[in-house]
Subunit: 475 residues, 2 copies
């Protein structure tokens, strides 16, 4: 029988806090009948967000094509989506049950390229696109392909979505953490980047690529044009590939905020040299179709033989799931003005986005008003990375750096576990994403319905003050 | 810009022939208007196999739940599937758009455990099951977890489905090939296993696990009870984990053939010691739902902490796609006698399986009747691994073993490429799966419709004799 010692040691040390011990405890409590508010993960439809109607109508007609021959049944569908489904059946005659080409269905990749062109006003090539099971599998593929030896280093933000740290750890590469500038709305800072890079090189690490998440996870920040430009120039200067996690591109709420894709800025800079991997997903945005595991990877500035290797890698697991591919296709080709489904689409889309914007404000302003908590209103994505303070329970001045890290990580874990046990609110400790030593954070989504968000803020206020009091008393 | 030298060298050397150069050429020819018969891959619905109606009815109602509130639309569905969909919506209230738990939806895992119990008459534990995006992702996860260092060896059959060789190569482990016994219907042979194991150990390889594909891919063989028992005893003796690829378990055509799962035989042997990973998929069987990427992995004889590591690994990419999970659930809970959909289900299932059986015979007997080809009627799965002979174009007696391998591999590749160019029939060269030095094979599916299978045999007959003649003339 195999035991832990027979497992890949990199698997044992990999950590993925978004589904870590606190979430496992939450599931136990839920089984026991406790009401849990899952703010640990960006899973909108698990928190009552409704799917976009047109997407599901087409999926229904694609999965059970006999409906298209049943006039009574068709009365449940708008005309444009019936036409759409008929056209799709014609274009993918084997339907949803057959493997597609490794990189995805060709006409869908073409639509994705057109979507990028429309979004950014730049050329895009369908042959540089690979459809993936969500963005996670795209990220995992790129890391697999770029990681040659343990000293290969990937620059990742701190805090970061732990997919990156977990996957780099799993494949046995080196992490080069760079702090995001919390005081400057979590933008990237060139000095910090340079210092991180130089420190890593001094330790014998060979930097390969830089990961940027924009809009930010867990920070909820939206990078400015200037900031994206700085990163591209930094990457070019240091010959790094860029891995741009842009899955929250539709989630920008700040009035003065705007999503600037790395592809667009790179094109405007005339950079034909820096390799770019850009990731998108149907799990986020206003569609929130997490369960369907759809997404794509666009690769720029690589020779054809390198592209062929990425497609070969994809071919080993055959292809991404067809329904995820369909959802991705539908997301990049929404109903157009004049079509029967257009008004409902706009109403649903704008409704979801304005709710998210309102909830970002409720959360940001609400938590910022709590004594000992500090947070800007999130500008984008679905998260707030909330800074909080607790009285110390030990003399930190006597701790080594490692001891301090362990102490802080225990503090935020204990806090989040107590929050869960007391209130049923499930958030993720900041140490799961990384944070500046000596600071404490937690990540929460702002996905629960508006009324729940309001009561969540109140529950957190009560919990926090009681928790602080108890620490003070116990001293 | 990155170039090939910046890529993981294991990616560059990994090969996956099922989607290799011949298939890429076939796609080019198809674009130019040539009719291609894709016999390279087990993709039934791309070759006109119809999906099972009940599965698609439920998917339609799950994707677009509004249908359940529309009486007119419901007239297109049988009563039992309407009830089924309502129950499913109740049991998965977030629908198909939300992430599930990492290892899959709990009630579905329970149904899978009950299915195993019913199939094999043995206990099965839902907590030992992980739902995966097809079997490929399960295999990839197990290899990721078990591979600690480059000298860790996995015993894989020759010939084998190249997912195994490609993934082991990709992750930098060692392959320990063992020949299947072609003269004995491609069963495993203990002497050959022992010799392969000892040879590998002598080279400093540490054997970790043995991969068995039953029914066989590419061989179409079904292992006897005795053969499965022998493998389990071999694995226990040598402390190997077993990776049992059982995705063709429903595809057994031989009258005296029967599928014996490793779990069942292990239970009957009272073996509580040998770790077993068993893979299943919805892509094969009679459902052929390849595009939906559904499947599961059952793990036996591991401690709880090891199981937790497998679930953590799955959590890093969140969960398998929900529609694939639904299809898997529906496959393990088909309509029951007395339900409205039962008769149609039985008719569709038996129709597909009897067609496959008939086509296996047409192919087996037909090709075996061609001068210079040798093949038994496949007993199971969807493939025949056809042995063929060609006149030599060089003096093989003067070649080294490596030269001989390169020569044979060029010969079968050239043959399959010429077959494609001449006839439009796309098969995979035997060297893509591995074969005994000095022999030539190709793998073909028997999935095309019956009339096409008959004409395929005739086309192959004409092609083969012409190809042989041309070689003879050119000498």
């Amino acid at each position: 029988m195999i035991s832990l010692k027979d497992l890949n040691p990199h698997l044992l040390t990999a950590e993925y806090a978004v589904r870590g011990p606190i979430v496992i405890r939450a599931q136990e409590l839920e089984k026991q009948g406790k009401k849990i508010i899952y703010c640990n993960i960006g899973n909108p439809q698990a928190l009552k967000q409704k799917p976009l109607t047109y997407i599901r109508q087409v999926l229904g007609l694609m999965e059970y094509p006999a409906l298209l021959e049943n006039e009574k049944a068709l009365s449940a569908f708008p005309k444009d989506m019936i036409e759409r489904a008929k056209k799709l059946h014609h274009m993918m005659p084997h339907g949803t049950g057959a493997y597609t080409q490794s990189a995805g269905t060709p006409f869908m990749k073409q639509a994705i390229a057109e979507y990028i062109t429309k979004r950014d006003g730049i050329p895009a090539d369908e042959n540089q696109i690979i459809m993936t099971d969500g963005a996670s599998k795209g990220v995992s593929a790129v890391l697999t392909a770029l990681l040659k030896k343990p000293s290969d280093g990937f620059m990742i933000p701190i805090p970061q979505y732990p997919l990156y740290s977990a996957t780099i750890e799993l494949y046995g590469g080196s992490q080069i953490g760079y702090y995001l500038d919390e005081a400057n709305s979590w933008q990237l800072n060139e000095e910090i980047l340079t210092k991180s890079l130089n420190d890593a090189k001094a330790k014998g690490i060979d930097p390969v690529a830089i990961v940027v998440i924009n809009p930010g996870n867990p920070t909820g920040a939206v990078l400015s044009f200037e900031n994206v430009k700085m990163v591209i120039e930094f990457a070019r200067k240091h010959k790094l590939a860029i891995m741009a996690d842009e899955v929250y591109q539709d989630n920008v709420y700040a009035i003065d905020g705007m999503f600037h894709s790395f592809a667009k800025v790179m094109h405007q800079l005339g950079d034909n040299e820096t390799t770019l991997f850009s990731f998108h997903s149907v799990s986020k945005g206003f569609m929130g179709e997490c369960g369907h595991r759809g997404g794509f990877l666009e690769i720029r500035n690589v020779p054809a033989d390198v592209m062929a290797e990425f497609i070969k890698l994809q071919s080993i697991s055959l292809c991404s799931n067809t329904v995820g591919q369909l959802v991705t296709y539908l997301v990049v080709t929404p109903p157009q003005k004049g079509e029967a489904s257009y008004d409902l689409y706009v109403q649903e889309r704008d409704g979801i986005l304005s709710e998210l914007k309102a909830k970002a404000e409720i959360l940001g302003k609400g938590l910022n008003g709590i004594e000992g908590m500090e947070i800007d209103v999130p500008q984008g994505a679905m998260y707030a990375f909330v800074k909080f303070e607790l009285p110390h329970t030990a003399d930190v001045s006597k701790m080594s750096a490692a001891e301090r890290l362990a102490y802080e990580s225990k503090r935020d874990n204990d806090y989040c576990m107590a929050l869960l046990e007391e209130t049923g609110i499930c958030v993720v400790p900041g140490s799961g994403f990384g944070q500046l030593p000596g600071t404490l954070h937690f990540r929460t989504t702002f996905l629960p319905p508006r009324d729940e968000m309001e009561s969540l803020v109140e529950k957190m206020r009560a919990f926090h003050s009681e928790y602080v009091d108890q620490i003070a008393k116990s001293k």
